[in-house]
């Protein structure tokens, strides 16, 4: 790339020692970031690593607690995105902000001072058209937004920013919503724009893309930079992946070695669509045994939610899902619950609880129709209250009384309430989605201990998490999901963070066998068909070793809590 000496160069953007503290969380910790003129600079990192926070600081949405920002060599202090836009910085968000019933041109003109009163759309259509042509963007300015594909809508967002005279574009995970071909087109467009002098920040967690598009890159992990403005030459994907996901295990969990038992859950060629009617699960095969934790790793949005939903009966699918031998695919949530499923949902407030109802009413959500809580048609609230009191005691839920509304509980206590409800039903299978996200350290440890206890008791646990440390410390096996597929299943003891990182980013395909142990026994049937329960059990003789030497105790700041709120909102809106 451009071999200009950094000392003499005026950067398009320079962010120095940016520190941003959310209550209880260090979201950005002395982050340095520089953007050269005319380059595409990738900002790489996991969810919650602080990428979006850093960019929101640049856009003036957050004020940093410390650090300084320079645009074109001049020190700036933005109070709102309006200031940032005036300084020539524009951001394309993941969720588009367009008016569906208006035309492309109208959307681009929204909020501008000109045109003032009379709107001569034709004139502005031409202006938009010229601008689009200048950057090789294909768009019809007169078409209505709702008629456009997602990729085209994204182009409108880009044009909106260019129209406002932006020299610096921030693209927040722009390819997340695009089909592969659209993504390639976008990358071409961005390269063209960079050639014409625009500077582009490209936020991503996909290594393939980043290597295709970026001139330089900065990697964030847990609020800190692990690589600052490095060029891509000579860097392997492996080292990128390890810079991105890191390797720390913080908790000394008391995980007993134990052999897994009978198969509890089995998925056979399960495919499903997401809410946008796109294929989100592709021929997923899985099996899960008694007393075993199967971790599902992957970057958010690669089919994990859909996987959980098909198992819990909340989403339709093709293929077979057997829970204790009963097919629960395309049945109802009742059928899954009746077959022995407990579900710890990702969205604690939106799905896992009834926020305005009391603890008691939240606790009985799944057994309100069983003795002793209810007989025939009526609910015995005395018994229900008693039950709530017991669980409150047993699971140490901090709340004034059992009459307290669920929404008044802190995140950790609400999670304890959900765990109390779910785990007390003596489930055969526990599906836990991001059970520790957004919780403080103490609460996380409590949740993890509870899950391990259930494992000891012989429940099968499917643990979906974006926190690799958590997966590595809790799981017996880890399956990695990428674009709706299980791209590989690793044994905990062989699980290598770099391998997982590469699989998560779609750079490596592993062995997607159902149970790696089976392969050590040549007599076993093909792993893709884990139908023979009896045989499978017999192979499970050798206990796994938990490698204590890999445990590195260390403090870990939590930055997810802030972001998590926003994400939940986004999901709720869909």
């Amino acid at each position: 790339m451009n071999p200009i000496e950094p000392t003499t160069e005026t950067f398009a953007v320079e962010m120095k020692d940016i520190t941003l503290r959310f209550p209880g969380v260090l979201a950005n910790d002395r982050v340095n970031f520089t953007l050269r003129k005319g380059e595409i600079h990738a900002l790489l990192g996991e969810n919650g690593a602080g990428k979006s926070t850093l960019m929101n600081v640049l856009m003036g949405l957050y004020k940093p607690n410390a650090g300084s920002i320079f645009v074109d060599g001049k020190r700036v202090s933005f109070n709102s995105p309006r200031d940032a836009i005036a300084a020539g910085i524009g951001m394309v968000h993941q969720h588009f902000m367009l008016v569906p019933n208006q035309t492309v041109t109208e959307n681009i003109l929204i909020g501008l001072d000109e045109p003032k009163f009379v709107l001569n759309l034709k004139k502005y259509d031409q202006k938009v058209k010229d601008l689009a042509n200048q950057f090789g963007i294909q768009i019809d300015p007169t078409s209505l937004i709702w008629q456009l594909s997602v990729g085209e809508q994204q182009r409108v967002e880009i044009l909106k920013i260019l129209y406002r005279g932006a020299q610096i574009l921030i693209m927040d995970e722009p390819t997340a919503v695009l089909a592969p071909q659209e993504a390639n087109e976008l990358i071409d467009t961005l390269k063209g724009m960079a050639r014409q002098g625009k500077s582009i920040i490209f936020i991503s967690h996909k290594l393939n893309e980043v290597t295709a598009v970026a001139d330089r890159l900065t990697i964030l992990r847990k609020g800190q930079t692990t690589a600052e403005g490095i060029t891509l030459g000579g860097i392997t994907r492996e080292s990128l992946a390890s810079l991105m996901v890191g390797r720390e295990i913080i908790f000394n969990l008391h995980k007993q070695e134990q052999a897994a038992g009978n198969v509890v859950l089995e998925l056979n060629k399960v495919s499903a669509l997401n809410n946008k009617n796109l294929l989100a699960l592709r021929d997923v095969d899985l099996c899960l045994r008694e007393g075993e934790i199967l971790g599902i790793a992957g970057v958010a949005g690669n089919g994990q939610s859909e996987l959980v939903e098909v198992i819990t009966g909340l989403r339709e699918c093709t293929g077979h899902i057997l829970l204790e031998g009963k097919n629960i695919a395309n049945k109802s949530p009742q059928a899954s619950i009746a077959a022995g499923l407990a579900h710890i949902p990702e969205d604690r407030i939106g799905v896992g609880s009834a926020p305005n109802l009391s603890l008691t009413k939240n606790v009985i959500m799944k057994n309100y129709d069983h003795e002793p809580i209810s007989s025939d048609w009526r609910i015995n609230y005395t018994a229900a209250d008693l039950r709530a009191k017991e669980l409150k005691e047993q699971y140490k839920i901090q709340a004034p009384t059992i009459e307290t509304q669920a929404r008044k509980l802190s995140g950790g206590n609400l999670q304890k309430l959900i765990l109390a409800r779910e785990l007390s039903s003596k489930p055969r299978l526990i599906v836990a989605m991001q059970p520790t996200r957004g919780l403080d350290v103490g609460a996380i440890e409590g949740v993890q201990e509870l899950l391990l206890e259930e494992r000891t008791q012989g429940s099968a646990i499917l643990l979906v998490s974006e926190d690799l440390d958590e997966l590595l410390s809790l799981s017996d096996r880890i399956a990695v999901m990428y674009e709706g597929e299980i791209v590989g299943t690793l044994n905990q003891k062989d699980a290598d963070i770099n391998t997982i990182g590469l699989m998560m980013t779609g750079s490596l395909r592993g062995d997607s066998s159902c149970s790696p142990e089976e392969q050590t026994t040549p007599a076993q049937a093909s792993a893709e068909e884990p139908t023979s329960e009896q045989e499978a059990v017999t192979t499970f003789t050798e206990p796994r070793q938990f490698d204590r030497s890999k445990i590195v105790p260390m403090h870990r700041p939590f930055m997810e809590s802030k972001r998590e709120d926003k994400q939940t909102d986004d999901e709720g809106g869909e």
């Binding site: 959310f22 957050y62 009746a338 939106g350 896992g352 048609w377 008044k408």
Partner: protein
């Protein structure tokens, strides 16, 4: 310098008495505001209000009239309360009331049974069942549309109100008209709900007291709805679905089924009100049997904060407004008070969620602190 009102979100639970206090406060304020309006058109509000009082609670006869008017409000209010509890906005009480009246009348008009020989209790029992069937049918339609196709129930129930009214009119004018008038022939006595006036021979006191047995339906219904909401499994499901449908689905509840059931139950109560009106008050099917009971029932339910016991009290208050409204010109005055009351009661809910703080402003009109901006962002 100036004063600034600032609403602050309550961090703790509001006191238990607060909902009742704000409701009563809202009603009183409604009378005050209406008073100013009446004053502005040259009337004497105090005179009007005292007249209201004597017209509605001045004698046993008028009290009986109040209860008679309160009966349909009570039944419809209870049905509305149940559906609102599940956040289903059934405002089709009016249409369900008319369909109930129509179906109940069919027992007599077809006739479904031999009116000469069938015992009164059977005729009335059949009329009750038919009334509830009619109302439930007009609850079922929006219920299915909402549950299966997610069609907004406000629109469907509102439109069905018109359909029910004109459906009734068609039969009254077209088929069962009494000598060309927009009413059917009077029902035989066997189809009349017992009234206190019927016992005037034994107890002289009862003469001219029109109170009929419909009020007993209302009171029983209030007890039943209370039990459903507070003691039953179904009530728990209704509350859970109402508070968070996603959680209810996750917990394995059949939301579709429950939406339809609640709509039908709510409609059945309104239908029973229609039956009580034709059988207990007008003794025939005719035009305008409802003075928009269906809509007043919605107000009653809100004013009572969806509490079945409070529905009884509020419906009597509204019955009184209707009775007094008859005595006064223009009769719109009671609607004026009703409207203002509803507006204020709904607005008063703000006080349950927020506290009001009055602040002096001026000196330091400081910009938003970064911390505050952050929390806003996160929300």
């Amino acid at each position: 310098m100036g004063l600034r009102l600032e609403f602050q979100k309550r961090t703790e639970d509001h006191p238990k008495w607060l909902p009742a206090a704000t409701s009563i406060g809202a009603v009183l304020l409604a009378f005050v505001i209406s008073g100013f309006i009446l004053k502005s058109v040259g009337a004497d509000p105090l005179y009007i209000y005292s007249y209201f009082w004597t017209a509605s609670f001045g004698s046993w006869g008028s009290i009986s009239d109040v209860v008679v008017k309160a009966t349909p409000l009570l039944l419809i209010g209870l049905g509305s309360a149940l559906s609102f509890k599940m956040r289903l906005w059934n405002i089709g009480g009016e249409g369900q009331f008319y369909m109930g009246a129509f179906f109940a009348s069919m027992v007599v008009l077809l006739p479904m049974v031999n009116l000469q020989t069938t015992p009164k209790i059977v005729v009335l029992g059949l009329m009750m069942v038919m009334g509830m069937v009619g109302g439930a049918l007009f609850g079922f339609i929006p219920g299915v549309l909402r549950a299966k196709y997610n069609i907004n129930e406000v629109i469907t129930t509102l439109m069905l109100n018109y359909i029910a009214v004109y459906w009734n009119n068609y039969w009254i004018f077209g088929k069962y008209s009494d000598a060309g008038f927009q009413m059917t022939k009077m029902f035989p006595k066997v189809a009349w709900l017992p009234r206190l006036a019927d016992y005037a021979k034994q107890y002289k006191f009862f003469s001219g007291i029109t109170l009929h047995a419909g009020v007993i339906f209302g009171l029983i219904a209030a007890v039943i709805v209370w039990i459903i909401l507070n003691k039953s499994r179904w009530g728990y499901k209704i509350t859970l679905i109402g508070d968070n449908p996603k959680a209810a689905r996750y917990a394995g509840l059949d939301i579709t089924k429950n939406i339809i059931l609640v709509f039908m139950f709510s409609g059945a109560l309104a239908g029973l009100a229609g039956m009580a009106e034709v059988s207990g008050v007008v003794h025939r099917l005719q035009e305008r049997i409802s003075t928009s009971y269906g809509f007043s029932g919605v107000i009653v339910a809100w004013l009572a904060k969806l509490n079945p016991v409070a529905v009884i009290i509020v419906s009597i208050l509204f019955g009184a407004l209707i009775v007094a409204g008859r005595e006064i010109q223009p009769s719109g005055v009671s609607f004026l008070i009703q409207g203002i009351t509803l507006f204020l009661v709904i607005s008063s809910d703000v006080l349950l969620k927020y506290t009001l703080r009055i602040e002096r402003t001026g000196k330091h009109s400081k910009s938003i602190e970064p911390e505050a901006a952050l929390t806003e962002e996160a929300k």
